[in-house]
């Protein structure tokens, strides 16, 4: 017989209680989603594409980019679909004239001031909304500035920054809890900054690169990718991405190694991985160079009788 106390103990992971389903309509299509879902979730369930910049499934919504706005019947203003939770009977329009106009203006303002050349999917998005950033004229203010290359692992090209806050979120409370960066300044002069604007090596940065992993525009980029892009040899169509496991500790992070011409050019981790949620540490994201860097210490040239070069620090 089991004692009463022992019977009361919940041993297994608490089952998630089935949520109340909420019915709403999006672009005339009826859809049921669990209570607490966002309009974006409902759109995704229906296969309706909604553009996003500052939203990522692994981060808390911050509602800053405004490209995911949709029209909710009866609401005075457009709502960000990434954070607005669904309500029963809600009627949502994702491509009304008002929505299209707003998205177009947001994209035009971004594209006129920020270098979006390495933002995946951006050219298509601009075309889709018929955005004409050049209409603000050649004197439109921009955030053009020199790229910051102050360490061997990653570069910061804030001429490409759309201030989506993703890096700040990933560095802070959502993932790494290092708080090395934040948004400083106001209005057009708002920008990502380290504490007291110190160089990265003097900041609290621990070089996990989780900011690079979430950056939607290539403003943050591993140094190797940046070098290959500078040399004009970065070619994603020639790259393979294979999942393996990081060797450096017992956590067992899934490492997706991106390989081009037999060289590892980038390490990432899948967002849907239970262990990492897309995150890595400095060794996982950057510490793989020993398998191919200066093969002096590897392969047949590693003659134990040969004089050895000191370790490269």
């Amino acid at each position: 017989m089991t004692s009463p106390h022992l019977q009361l103990v919940q041993l297994s992971r608490p089952a998630t209680t089935p949520k109340v389903m909420v019915e709403l309509s999006v672009d005339g299509h009826s859809v049921k989603v669990p209570e607490g879902s966002t309009i974006l979730n409902a759109c995704q369930q229906l296969g309706i594409e909604v553009p996003t910049l500052c939203w990522l499934e692994t981060l808390k919504p911050v509602n800053v980019c405004r490209v995911c706005v949709v029209e909710v019947e009866g609401a005075r203003v457009l709502v960000p679909s990434c954070s607005r939770t669904v309500e029963p009977g809600m009627k949502v329009k994702t491509r009304s004239d008002r929505v299209n106009l707003t998205r177009r203006l947001v994209l035009e303002m971004l594209a006129s001031s920020v270098d979006l050349s390495t933002a995946p999917g951006m050219a298509e998005m601009l075309a889709e909304y018929d955005a004409k950033p050049e209409r603000f004229g050649p004197d439109a203010e921009t955030v053009a500035q020199p790229v910051k290359v102050d360490n061997d692992l990653y570069i910061r090209d804030y001429a490409k920054c759309v201030l989506c806050y993703k890096c700040v979120e990933a560095c802070g409370e959502d993932h790494q809890n290092t708080f090395a960066i934040a948004v400083a300044g106001r209005g057009f002069h708002a920008h990502i900054s380290t504490e007291f604007v110190v160089e990265l090596p003097e900041s609290a940065c621990v070089y996990c690169g989780n900011c690079i992993a979430v950056c939607p525009t290539g403003a943050l980029m591993s140094k190797r990718e940046w070098e290959l892009r500078q040399a004009g040899t970065w070619n994603e169509s020639k790259q393979t991405a294979t999942d393996t496991v990081c060797p450096f500790c017992g956590v067992g992070c899934t490492l997706t190694l991106h390989v081009q011409d037999g060289e590892i050019v980038k390490a990432t981790s899948p967002l849907d991985n239970d262990i990492t949620v897309g995150n890595l540490c400095i060794k996982g994201r950057f510490g793989w160079r020993h398998v191919q860097n200066g093969h002096a210490s590897r392969g047949p040239s590693a003659d134990p009788t040969a004089p050895r070069a000191p370790a490269n620090h």
Partner: protein
Amino acid sequence: MHNGARLYVMDPRRTESAQWGDVWMGLHVGSDIALSNTMAREIIHAGVYNKEFVANACSGFEEYKASVESYTLEVGEQLTGVPADVIRECAHTFAKAKKAMICWTLGITEHHDAADNVLALINLGILTGHVGKWGSGLNPLRGQNNVQGGGDMGAIPNKFPGFQDILDPTIRERFEKHWGVKLQPNLGWNLTEMIRAMDRKELTALYVIGENPAQSDADANHVRHCLEGLDHLVVQEICMTKTAEMAHVLLPASASWCESDGTVTNSERRVQRCRKVIDPPEGAKDELWIINEIAKRLGKDLNATDPETVWNEFRTVAPHFAGGMSYARLAEHQGLQWPCPDEHSPGATFLHDRLWKTGVERGMAAPFTVVKHEGPVEKPDVDYPFTLTTGRHLDAYNTGVQTAAYGSPLFRGETLDISPEDAAKIGVIDEDTVRVTSRRGSLLVPVRVDRSLRPGLVFMTLHYPDEAMTNVLTIDASDPKSGTAEFKACAVNVVLATSAVRVYAKT
């Protein structure tokens, strides 16, 4: 923690984790058992232990209770250096929490009483019933991607694959039948025992796969002497190392985690697939190929042609353990946690839930183990007044072979970290070079004054042995139960060798 969990960090150093914690308990190096026993006594005396769980699932409680009786809060404070009220608060919070877990790593296990340290924590876990249920438990955090997997596969001196006992004749017979060879009915040697056997010339040939004992083991001068005395040393490595330089035969190998296929097991028993991503450098061979070729030269064709075949054989000989972990399922679920006996099993997110059952279902009771505080083998004295403890830097890995050259901006190389109080006492400042001497060896190293250290404690890593071979200082006093050496504590003396200021003044 953002959801309200309380974090208590027990560490002699005020590490970054300690700064994150709600409470830092900066105990003396090697006083872990004293802390556990003091917490246990407080929990028992306050009546906040899980009486039903202890009665139902544990054995040896009365003896355990008597053994911790002398560890009052006052004695605990004296032995650990942690204030009595802090120990008390931690004990009560831990005992009363609905769910609580204890995680540890080498700070517990790199001691001469490593297993006893772990047993002391297990005692706390079962005393409070924080085991065998989701969100609770006892978690040793592994330092490499396959520490657990090595044990799973039987690469330990006392177990066959799937942790099956070598000394059990039934099990041995089964493996003999499966492999078609006679198996020794006795335990093998662990690393420490092997080094001692080399010293006695009982072990004369050594085959090292992916380890750098010449730099990674305690009392390095002695280890080097033992390795030099071998008749034959074979080293299989992905990079050149100091051990590889000593080899009679060097077998260049592919890096298992990205140049060949296979599996690894992480800290939470999750078996995951490693995949070949790039080709190894010319001449480096897949480790499985090397082992097959060696077996062939020894007159046995293993036919272990690919990793999946080997894995499936493991599943056959340890079906209770990994029977349900096909490569296909491992890929589909991004890894599975053992035990996973059949193809329908989701794997086990936690172990020991049987302890919450009764009768036959409960199985063997969880035993309390009486353990006593001893402290480090080598305590500071007049000649060697400091305790040296060793540890890691975030951006570096073990003896630095893999991490020396990736350009980490956090790289700072080897230093002797010392408290501001001790630095003032012996008259050193940052970047001075000091001579650090133990009873076994001596080295020169720059000083780094570190506010996270308390007086009497100094710290070094083992990442930069080409700059400063920390392990010439460490003591090979090792745990008879686990074979782990006491890397975490030895007595040293520190004296100024070259003043940084004077050097700068001259130039």
